[in-house]
Structure formats: C-alpha cells, structure tokens
C-alpha cells in the first residue's frame, strides 16, 4: 500500500522554480532513497512533503488522504517526521530535552527515550549535556532519535552523511534496519550514492528538479545512475 505519493509537484522559492512535475511513491515498510547532486531539489521535495514549503500544483497524499493543505504540525500528527539537513538539534536543550521535543505530538508507538538510547548507546552518557556540545555524529544520532520520538509512520532523513566521517556514517546507517523492523517506513535523501543504495529498496535520482531515474538498485546499472546523477 502506498504510504506517501507525490503527483505533479512544482515547488518554488519565490520566482525560482525548484521542482518540476515531481512524481514519487513510498510504500509502507519500504526504504526509498532519493539521490542527486547539490541543488537537484531533494531537500525541497522533503520540505514540500512535511509542509514547510507548498507546491502550487499537484497533490501530496499521505496514508491515503491529501495533506497538501495541512499545516506542518498536523502532518506530523498524522505520522510523518523530518530529520532536517545539517542536524539542526536544539543547542541549548539537553539531549533528553531534545528527545522530549521530538515526542511533542505524542503519537502512540514503540519509540521512547529508553528505546532511542538503546538504538544509539553513544547518546546515553551524554543525556544530560546540552546538544550544542555534542560531536557531529552524536548530533546526527540525536536528530534521528528526535525524529523517531514522534513515532512516525514515515521517517524522512535529509543528508544523514553530510559532514561526517565514513565510519560515523556507517554506524548511523547500521541503525536503519532496526528502525524499519519497528514498523517505520523510511525516505532517505542522500548525496552519498553508495550508502543510499546499500539500504534502499527503491531509488529515485533527481536532476535539476526533475526525477531523472527511478527503480530498484539491483536493476539499475552504474552507467544509468551516473548519467542521471550528473546529467551526462
């Protein structure tokens, strides 16, 4: 069953059009990756899904209902959660307080502070520290944990690997199967093609605001992906 579907999305920043007729689908229980170069429109697509940006045309459907007209907090209440690019943790709040804000909408589900600390044990010894004092990897783990605290049906991860050491990125990606096992569908936006393809069931490649390629990773060749990624 389709959990999220985008039809004819044309989001814009003022006069600059960032997305052109984007069509995308995420089924329940899937891991879908969206890859593409800088400025391809990946993050804009996520912002449009969660409601930070609006598309003047087309439709965003979530769990079978149109949500394009709903404000962000109502979409989060319905079960979508965005882990934004650049972590964007709340620096003056402690790790625990960050997690509590993550659970703001109080949706029922498996994710609690204890579960998050089990998923990311590195956060446990830092629970009483201001989030601004954490390392980049710890902040990213906190940002993912904070997103999970909303007990979302769909977790959207924007550039998890950005600015992190490869070993830290591998550690974070290792948590993804446990998140899916707990019943959460995942939509990942990534520039790191290797990491994204290693976990994704399906992949979309964005180029200049359009879907240039889509399919199952094992069915796509390196040449096809490179051509769609770089537009050559």
């Amino acid at each position: 069953m389709s959990l999220l579907s985008l039809t004819d999305i044309n989001s814009r920043y003022g006069t600059f059009q960032a997305l052109f007729g984007v069509e995308l689908r995420v089924d329940e229980g899937e891991i879908v990756a969206v890859i593409g170069a800088n400025g391809a429109g990946k993050s804009t697509m996520l912002k449009t899904v969660v409601g930070i940006m609006r598309s003047p045309t087309g439709e965003v459907r979530f769990a079978g209902r149109p949500v394009g007209h709903l404000p962000v907090h109502q979409r989060v209440s319905l079960g979508m959660s965005l882990v934004p690019e650049g972590r964007r943790v709340f620096p003056s709040l402690t790790v625990r307080e960050n997690l509590l804000v993550g659970g703001w909408v109080k949706r029922p589900g498996p994710w609690t502070v204890t579960k998050i600390l089990q998923l990311f044990p590195l956060l446990e010894r830092r629970i009483d520290h201001p989030a601004g004092n954490l390392s980049g990897g710890e902040q990213q783990a906190l940002a993912i944990g904070r997103g999970l605290m909303a007990n979302p049906r769909l977790l959207m991860l924007d550039e998890v690997s950005l600015g992190l050491a490869p070993i830290v990125v591998r550690h974070l990606y290792a948590a993804i199967p446990a998140i899916v096992e707990a019943g959460t569908t995942i939509l990942i936006v990534e520039q790191d093609i290797g990491q994204a393809l290693s976990v994704a069931d399906r992949v979309y490649c964005f180029l200049e605001g359009k879907v240039a390629l889509s399919g199952r990773p094992r069915e796509l060749t390196r040449e096809q992906i490179a051509a769609a990624y770089f537009g050559v």
Partner: protein
C-alpha cells in the same frame, strides 16, 4: 549505564537556598508598609513594576525570540482600562487592576494577528507602530480625555495611606506572580517548545510544535503582564497622559534592564532592575550626566558581558536560582540516589 537507572531532577542546592531566601524576602517585603515611609513605598512600587515588565519582555524576546519594541502599548492600555473600569463602570480600583490586565490580554489577541504577519526587524518596528497607533487613537478620543489625559478619581477618593499600601501589595503580588508565571511556563511543555523555537524555529515546527500558537500564547501573556503593571503604575500615579503612558521609553527601559541583567534567564531582569535602581538613586542628582552614565554602563556591560551581569556572575560556576533544565542523576551502583526537589520516575516524560 542502563537506561532505567537514572532519574530526572531540576532543583539544586542553589535553587533550594534561592527559594528559601526568596520566600523570606517576599515575606519581608509584604510587611514593609508597616515600617517604611511613603517615599520608600513609591520607589519600591516603581521597582516591582519594572521587574514585572522586564520579566514580560524577557519572556517575549529572550525565550520566544519576539523582539517587540511596542510593549508600551499594553502599559498604556492597562492604565486606561483601569480608568474605564474604576471611573466609568464603577468597579473598585483595587479590583479593577486584575480586570485591566485581562482586558489588555484580550486586546493583545487581535493585535498579535496583525503583528505576527511581520518578521524580525519588521516585527520590532511594526509593534512600535502599533503602539503609536494606540497612543494616537486614545489621544484623539475626547471621551477618554484626549491628549491631556484623565485622572483616576475613584482611586483619589481612597485614603492616601490605604491606597499606597494596597498599591504596593498589588505591585508585589504582580511582580512575584509574573516571576512565578514565567518560571511555571518555562518548566512546562510550553517552555520546552519555546526554547526549541528560539534555538531553531524550522526544526521545532517540523517536529510538530505549533509555532504560531506557542508564540501567540506568549505574546498574550506578556501583554497581560504589561497591562497589570500599567494598571498598578497608574494606580500609584493617578494621572494618565497618553504621551507618557504609551511612551517608547517604557520598552527602552525593559530592554535596558533585561540586556544588562541577562537575556533568557529569570534572574537577569531582577539583577538588571536592581542595578538600574541603584544607578538611578545614586546618579539622579547629576542631571543629564545621569543618562550619559547609564548609557555608558549599558555599553560597557554589553561589550564586556554579552550574556549580562547574571551571565558574568555564573560564567565560571553555573548557578540556577530558578532551575529550568532537566538534569539526570545517575548512581554508579545502578541504584537511584536520594534526591530532593521534583524528582521524576525514570524516563517519565517519554
């Protein structure tokens, strides 16, 4: 460490001492009218109302990030609401003070609808413009005294000593009440949301925090507090003139007190108000030099101590008289240590 062997506390030794000292101080202040003279009470009424409006501006700007330069609107409206209730409706002036605060809170609702359309610097200027509009409207309505203002005659009929004592107690109750209100808000879920919004509005919104509603609540509460303060100030002065009641100097004073005391802390505005009054009392005889020296103090403090005097005092050893953060206490043996204050069960807020 097992995830189930910690508990969350908020109080500290400093906060418990602070609470005890604060309670003694409030009790001492409450009996002061029986010992102090009229001049002292007038000064203390001014001090307590300044603490009130500074706390309200700090809540608005320091926690919600709403840099308003128009809070004088609600001081003026509080004063006029007091006059209307006491002189025109016939409500006892002392009862009219809290009602004036409520009326101002109601007026702030539609005002926020207008002001919240603006962002950042435009919001700051917009709120100032709104305050000026209120001043001009009041100054042009003859029924409320026009430009020359009105006298609260219902209050002037009360015996001077009684009026001054009760006004002082009202000022004390409003100051303590607003500090308690701010403390309560910041320890609640609303406070958590406010801090999150201040740190990163977009992140807070994408987690489901209703940013508009949260800011609206804070704006209305802050206006309510300023309305109460305005009613108390003019119950003390008796004569209301629109130019003085809606003067931007009120907000300049709030900003000065909060900035020199410490933005984003409850202790800061109290420290700032104390410093302001010390400067006022010691330098008042120096004429225009007084303003120059006060300005100089503000410049030096903002340059040398950007987090204000409270930030400077607690830089090396953090002290929280009003503890807001949730601290985790862990026992090495895995046993939950005995803690006082408001301990919560492990992971109680999940």
């Amino acid at each position: 460490m097992s995830a189930s062997t910690y508990r969350v506390v908020r109080s500290s030794r400093a906060s418990r001492i602070g609470l005890a000292v604060g309670a003694l101080l409030v009790a001492g202040l409450a009996v002061l009218p029986y010992a102090a003279g009229s001049g002292t009470l007038r000064t203390l009424i001014s001090f307590l109302t300044l603490v009130t409006v500074a706390q309200m501006w700090n809540l608005l700007a320091g926690y919600a990030g709403l840099l308003s330069v128009g809070q004088q609107a609600y001081i003026g409206l509080g004063a006029y609401a007091l006059w209307v209730l006491a002189d025109e409706v016939g409500v006892h002036p002392f009862v009219a003070v809290p009602l004036a605060g409520l009326i101002v809170g109601l007026i702030a609702l539609p005002t926020a609808g207008l002001a919240f359309r603006l962002r950042g610097g435009y919001f700051a200027i917009g709120t100032w413009v709104i305050a000026e509009v209120y001043r001009l409207v009041i100054a042009n309505i003859q029924a409320v005294g026009g430009g020359s203002g009105v006298t609260i005659t219902a209050a002037s009929h009360i015996a001077r000593a009684t009026r001054q004592n009760v006004t002082y107690w009202l000022a004390l109750a409003v100051a303590v009440g607003t500090i308690g209100l701010v403390y309560g808000i910041l320890r609640s879920r609303l406070g958590l949301a406010l801090t999150a919004i201040r740190d990163d509005e977009t992140s807070a919104e994408s987690l489901g925090v209703h940013v508009f509603r949260t800011k609206l609540w804070v704006y209305v509460l802050s206006s309510f507090g300023c309305g109460l303060a305005g009613a108390v100030i003019y119950l003390n002065l008796l004569r209301i003139q629109p130019d003085a009641a809606f003067s931007v100097n009120w907000t300049a004073l709030m900003i000065f007190v909060v900035v020199i005391g410490g933005v984003g802390t409850i202790e800061g505005p109290i420290i700032g108000a104390i410093l302001y009054f010390i400067l006022q009392e010691t330098l008042a005889d120096y004429g225009s030099w007084y303003l120059i020296l006060v300005g100089l103090v503000a410049v030096v403090i903002t340059l040398k101590a950007p987090r204000g005097l409270w930030g400077l005092l607690t830089e090396r050893r953090p002290v929280h008289v009003f503890p807001l953060q949730r601290h985790v206490r862990i026992d090495a043996s895995g046993e939950i240590p005995p803690v006082s204050g408001r301990p919560r069960s492990a992971c109680a807020d999940e």
